[in-house]
Each structure stands twice: as structure tokens, then as C-alpha cells.
Amino acid sequence: MLLAAETASSLMSLGLTLPLWPLLSAALVGIMLASGRFRGMAHVAVIAGALVAAVLGAVWFVQLAPAGDGHGATGGVSMDIAPWFSLGDGQMVGFNYYLDGLTGVMLLVVTSVALMVVIYSVGYMKDHHGHRERGYERFFAFLGLFIFSMLMLVLAGNFVLLYLGWELVGLCSYLLIGFYYRKPEAAAAAKKAFLVNRIGDFGFALGIFALYQYILPHVQPGENALDYAVVFRHAAQLTADQVNLVCLLLFCGAMGKSAQIPLYVWLPDAMEGPSPVSALIHAATMVTAGVYMVARCGPLFANAPDALEVVTWVGAIGAIYAATMAMAQYDMKRILAYSTMSQLAYMFVALGCGAPDSAVFHLYTHAFFKALLFLGAGSVMHAMGNVIDLREFSGLRSVLPTTQRLMLIGCLALAGFPLLSGFWSKDEILHAALEHNFPVFVILLLTSFMTAYYTFRMYFLCFHGPLRLPAAAGAHPHDAPPVMVLPMTLLAAGAVLAGYLGVAIHWGSPLDSFLFVFQGHGWFHHYVHNGSMVVTPVEHGSGSAVLYYVSAAVGIVGIWMAWRRYGTAPQDEPDRKSFGPLWLLWHARYYVDEIFDAVFVQPLRALGRLFFAVDRAGVDGAVNAIGGTPRALGAVLRVAQNGMLQSYALTTALGIAVLALLWRFVGTP
């Protein structure tokens, strides 16, 4: 069976503690910060934590490899650790893990990229003359906390625990984006990120409630209704629109986290955070949580055709929408942010077209080259004295040779240059889209072209053309120190080689396999199947390799176009001339931020002020009115007190008269 070996089970039990190591290191740093002693060791603690997590992750990755021929989709393993809280009438939510192929891949991606980023941060967090920036320990503590929460999210065995990881990751992104809290824009961006994520979580929570309500009748006693295993076992028993509603609500959560169409506004602003944060959180791990969740809920989404349709179209529109904006930005990190959003949209299209394994494969490869690009941008920023606007500098080839070479590899991978990892994974998504939804395929093809175009526009503007340096860069900007170059080279290796894990070697005619050798759906896909993923098998029909050539051509043409227009990093923006007002629209990011602010934020604040006024005047007024009536009544009667003795006697006499009359006619009771 899956974990036959005894050593395996011991390693497994050790694996239980996997997420706790980064948490431990974060706590350790916290204690250091509080106690004030040996503060320099902060990065060592977190690196150690990340390292242990990476090792255990790799061990589990190997453990979870499919035994035998790899086609059997054995169910995932769930391990209960401790009860958490009860949901009444016997149902209980606990801390438990759910391990299968998908978890293995995610573990590998998260832990490896996290390790690279932590090592890189050691260099990044030092300013020009080498001593640590203020808040150095706090940064590493938050990184540790983030790794813990991402691992909890990935390993979670039930929806509530997933929700826990979901929100904790949101918290860490809030803390890390707002790291330079003295900058008001950073604080605002952090708040925006957390709140937009919260909107997504609102839908996610409702999805969980709805799921529980529908699953409960089918659950046998002794099973917890919200555990993955139980939910997927009874997924088929739900009615069509029940599942659709649940999937839509869950997808709403995914949109928030993975920055898809309506809820993406926080991602570009999140670039206010330090670059390693962007690399780790906004490229490789957190934003992929949405994709992971939709992939994880494969059995649910499988029988929710409407939901899949929504996912596909949100993905397609998102891809091209983000690509257009990326083409018209000058801030290097924002271009990469929009590119991330576009690539994530690719993954959602793959999920929508019923190819979750390709989506995960693209997620796996994308993590490597996007992290590399962000780290590269980080080192450029580091060298340029925190300036990242492409108009400020150009021709850095001569000054930052290593960064330039690594960035080139990253750009090629992102652009889908043949034989690199990006090419293989993106192509499979195009393949899935071609089979299911032709208009979407056309959109994606066009987006691939635009991706190649804007990636190399950025590359040429930054590294080619005459050497110009911003004032802040100082006389001679130094290239990245070794502690930053090492992780980048490792990621570059990943960017190049990672793709081959998902490629099958199959000698055949050029039509059947690309360059006589390669075909899609290699070992990686079988690895990912090994779990509860419901996947439509892909047969390698003849002529399937044609698509490889088409996408390769699109990629190369895109690069060439970028070279022709931006080869010499011209100052005047060629695109502005050719696209005119369209370009301005893209540059201003479709004014979405302003629209959202006007449509949502201001009216709500106005409503708040109105309520406050109503509260002070209306409700409070009513209460005071009630309080005031006796006083007013008193004032009326006071007139009778006119001080003259006689009038008092008169009123007394009148009183007696009335009483007498009453006594006389009404009679004593």
C-alpha cells in the first residue's frame, strides 16, 4: 500500500510536525525580539525552520510517489491529530491532515521556494553598507509564520482548517506587505489586501456553511461532515444546483486569494512590500492557494458544470485583461504582478477545462520562474537604491551581469520559449483549452503572445540600451551578493529543468512528439493523479504535437516584436504611439481602483456617517424625547404656582368640590 515501509511510517509521524518547525522558528525569533539578546541570529532560526520543513516536504514528496504503474488513483491519506471544536449534534471539526499527490506537489513547491526566499532575504534585508535594516527580526518572524500558515493550508484535512490556513496566510500577507509601515501607501496596501481577501473569505465561509447543510443528511454517524474524505465520498449524492452553489461560493474565496477578476485589485498594490515577500507570497505560494483549493475540490467541481463554465470564463477574461495592463506599466514589480495574475488565470482556465493536473503542473513551473523574476527585480531594486521605475534606468547589462543573465532565463521561461519549463506547462493548458472551448483557446494564444511581448519589453527596457542610473543608485551600483545569487541560480535551474518532470520521452514522428522526442503528461501528472483528483485521461492521439510548434512560434514572435520595438530601450514609449488612448487606458489600469473606491468604499463610508448621524439624532433623539416629556409636562404645571395664597386656596376648594361631587354621584365603591 502507499506507506508500506516501517521507516516510512516513522518518517510520516515526523512529517506531522512539518508545519510546526517554521512556527517554532517564528516563535524563537519573537522571543529573541522580546528578550533583545542575540538578535542577529533571527535569519538563522528561520532558515533552519524552512530547511527542516523543506527536507520533510521532500521526504513526503517521495513517500507520496505513486507505487506500481502509477495509474491507480489511490485515495488520499487523512491523519487526525487533535479535536478542535464541535459543531453540535455530534459533528466535530478537528486538526487533521489530508495527504495525496496534490499535497505532495504543493509541499515541494512551497517549502523549496520558501527556503530560497528566506536565504535571499538575508542579503536583501541588508542596506548598502551591510548592516541590517530596522525590523530585520520582525521580517523573518513573519516569514516563518507565513510558511507555517501556507503549510497548514496545504496540509489541511477539512474545510475549516483550510479556512484557517486561508485567513492566516491573508494575515501574514497583511503583516508583510505592511512591513514598511511608516510609508502610508504600504499601510494602505496591506489593509486593502487583507480586506479584499476578506471579501473572498466571506464567500468561502458561506460555501462551507452551504456544503455542510447539503452534505449533513448523507453523512453516516461517526464521520465529520466537513472532512475532505467524507465530502468527496458523498459529493455525487448532492443535487446539481446544490453543488453549483457550493462551488461558486468556494470559487468566490479562490478569486479573492488568487486575485482573479473582481477581487484582484489588491495584488498590484501588494508590491509595496519587500521583494522577497512578493516573490514568496505574490508569485509562488499564497496566490496559488485558490488554484490549489479548486484542484483539491475536484470531485465537487467535477459535477458542477455551470461552476466550471464560470471558472473558465473568469480565467480567460482575467488572462487577457491582466496581460493588457502589464504591457503598459513602468514599475517592474507591477508588471510581474499583472503577469502573475495572467498566469493564474491560465491555471483557472485549465481547471475549468477539466485538466486540473495541467493547472497544477503550470503552478509548479510558474512558481520557480516567477519567484526568480521577482528576486531578480529585487536585486535590481536593491542595486538601484529602491528605485524600480523602468524610466529611471536602462542598460544595466554592463553593471549587473549576473542578475541580467538570471533574469534572462526567467523571462524566457515566462515567455514560453521552447524547451524551458514555462513552455511545457503553458502548452498543456492551451491543449486543454483547444479541446474544450475554442474561443478561450484563441484568447489564451493571444495572451501568450502578449506575455512574451511584455516580459521582454521589461527585460530590454531594463538591461539593454545606453547605461543610465538613477541618482539614488550611487556611483557604481554593486551586483547582487552571493547570498542572493545562490537562491536565484537554484531557481533558474528549476525554471529550466522543472518542466521536464512533466514531459514523457516518446520517440516518434515530429507530428506526434515535439522535436521527435517530447510528449505531454509525463511522470508529474501521474504523480498528481495519485489522490482524489478526478481527471479525464488524455490520450496521445496523432498530431497532438502540432500545438507545441504553434505555441513555440507564438513565443518567439512575441520576443522578436519586443526586440524590434524596445531593443534599444527607447525613452519615448513606442507602444503609446501605436496604441494611443488604449495604451493610456491600460496604463491607468482601466481606472478600476478609482471605480471600486467610488462604487464601494465611499458610499459605505457615507452610509456609516448617515447611520452615525441617525444614531445621534434619531435613536438618541427618540430616547431623549422620552426622557424630555416629563420635564415638559412639569413646565406646564409650573404656571399654576403663582405664589398667591388665594389661588392655592381656590384650587384646593375646587378640588374638594370635585371630590364631593364624585363622592356624591359615583358613590363610594
Partner: protein, 260 residues
């Protein structure tokens, strides 16, 4: 019963008319007419009271009562204080007469001496003292809230009279004979009538108290035996009143210098 209320109403209106108003006092004729009408009404009432018995004192009592009421009306309505005081003396005398009828000789004489003699003299003395302008002072002609005052007073009177004379009994009261006590069965029909029934039947309480009932000697022994403490207290009260009056008077002198 209706007659009685009628009387009271007419009396009320009359008095209302009689009270001094902004303009000159009401024409004497109207006043006289009203007074006479009221008196006639009263006499009619008193006469046809259900009294099977006619005691010799009746006519004098009626006369004295009428006199007393008229005097009282004039005391209240007269615009010049001195005349009010004088009418009050007349009233006291009428009252004394009535008391005599009831064989309360000592009280009657005491009343005349103390009231008419002492108190009224003081009043007249003060009136003279406080008389500043010749004509009518504004505050004498102007009555305050006459309507409400009369209303209150006469409603009270109507009710008291009603209470005394007999309740407005919905059913007709059955009487044993003319003027006799209410038949027994009438009482048990309306148990709450019991006290008035007793009131009405004078017959069985005609027992004369015997001569010298109200004489000083009888009254004196009575006072000093069963009300000995009260007598002492009355003495103390009078002493206190005297001391008070002196205190006010003395302070009044010193106060004067200040106010003057």
C-alpha cells in the same frame, strides 16, 4: 331634593352677580331681588320639611336663619370693608339667636361678647387703620376668579345639603305615614340609606333635655370635668397668641424704621 338644588343654583348665580366687579357695584335693586328670592326659597324649604311636628320655635328659627344668610351674603359681597364688618356683627347676633333656640345660652352670650365684642372691634380697628384712600380701593371692587370661587363654594354647598337632606334616591322612598320615619323595608332595600333615615326622623328624638340644659353652670361643670385638659390647652393657646401678637407688634416698630 330638586328644590334644594334649585335653591343652591339660584343662590350661586345671585352671589356671583353680587360680587364686586370692575364696574360699580351691582344695582341695589338686582341684589335685593335676588336676596329676597333666595330667602323665599329657603323659607319654602324650611316650612315643608317633613316635620309632622310644629314646634313653637319654628317661625323664629326660620327668620333668624334667613337673617343670618342674608348677612353672610352681604359680608362677602359688600365692596366697602366697614360695612362687611358691620354685617358680620348682624350675622353674629342672628347666630346667637339660633343658639338660644337650642338652649345654648352660655354659648350664645359668649359668642356675642367675644365675637361681636372683641374680634369684630379689632377688625374695625384694623380696617380704620389700613384705610388709605377715600373712595374704593381697586382691590376691593375687583373679585378674583369669581366664577370659579362661586362654583366651588356652591357645589360644595349643594353636595353638603344633598348629604344632609337626603340622597337623590332613584326609587321613590316609601314612608310609613306623612313625615314619619322611612319605612323599615325602605331601609333594607337601600342599606346605604341607614344614616340619613335616622337623620330624617326627628320624632323619636324630641325628648326635651329639661330646663337649664345649656346654662353656664351645667356647661361649666361639663367643661371642667370631661374637658379639663382641653381647657388648660386653650389657655396656653391664648397665651401663645398674645405673645405672638406682641412679638409681631414690637418687630413691626423696628421694621418700620427700616422700611420707612
Amino acid at each position: 331634593m330638586l328644590l334644594l338644588t334649585l335653591l343652591v343654583v339660584v343662590g350661586g348665580i345671585g352671589l356671583y352677580m353680587a360680587l364686586p366687579r370692575g364696574r360699580t357695584a351691582p344695582a341695589r335693586g338686582v341684589l335685593a331681588l335676588l336676596a329676597v328670592a333666595a330667602a323665599a326659597m329657603l323659607v319654602a324649604i324650611l316650612i315643608n320639611l317633613p316635620s309632622g311636628i310644629v314646634t313653637p320655635a319654628r317661625p323664629t328659627m326660620v327668620a333668624l336663619s334667613v337673617l343670618a344668610l342674608l348677612a353672610a351674603v352681604r359680608v362677602v359681597t359688600h365692596s366697602r370693608p366697614v360695612y362687611s364688618a358691620l354685617y358680620f356683627v348682624l350675622l353674629v347676633l342672628a347666630n346667637a339667636g339660633l343658639l338660644l333656640l337650642m338652649q345654648a345660652e352660655f354659648l350664645a352670650t359668649g359668642l356675642v361678647i367675644i365675637y361681636a365684642g372683641a374680634i369684630l372691634v379689632t377688625y374695625i380697628f384694623v380696617i380704620m387703620l389700613a384705610q388709605q384712600t377715600s373712595g374704593k380701593a381697586p382691590y376691593d371692587t375687583e373679585a378674583r376668579e369669581p366664577l370659579l370661587g362661586c362654583l366651588a363654594g356652591f357645589v360644595l354647598l349643594a353636595v353638603l345639603a344633598g348629604g344632609i337632606y337626603g340622597t337623590a334616591v332613584p326609587g321613590e322612598l316609601k314612608r310609613a305615614g306623612p313625615g314619619g320615619p322611612l319605612a323599615a323595608e325602605a331601609i333594607d332595600v337601600r342599606p346605604d340609606l341607614a344614616p340619613n333615615a335616622a337623620l330624617l326622623s326627628d320624632v323619636n328624638r324630641l325628648s326635651e333635655p329639661g330646663p337649664g340644659h345649656g346654662t353656664t353652670e351645667r356647661l361649666g361643670t361639663h367643661l371642667l370635668t370631661s374637658y379639663f385638659l382641653a381647657m388648660e390647652l386653650a389657655g396656653v393657646l391664648l397665651l401663645a397668641a398674645m405673645v405672638g401678637a406682641i412679638a409681631i407688634a414690637r418687630r413691626q416698630l423696628s421694621g418700620m424704621e427700616g422700611a420707612a
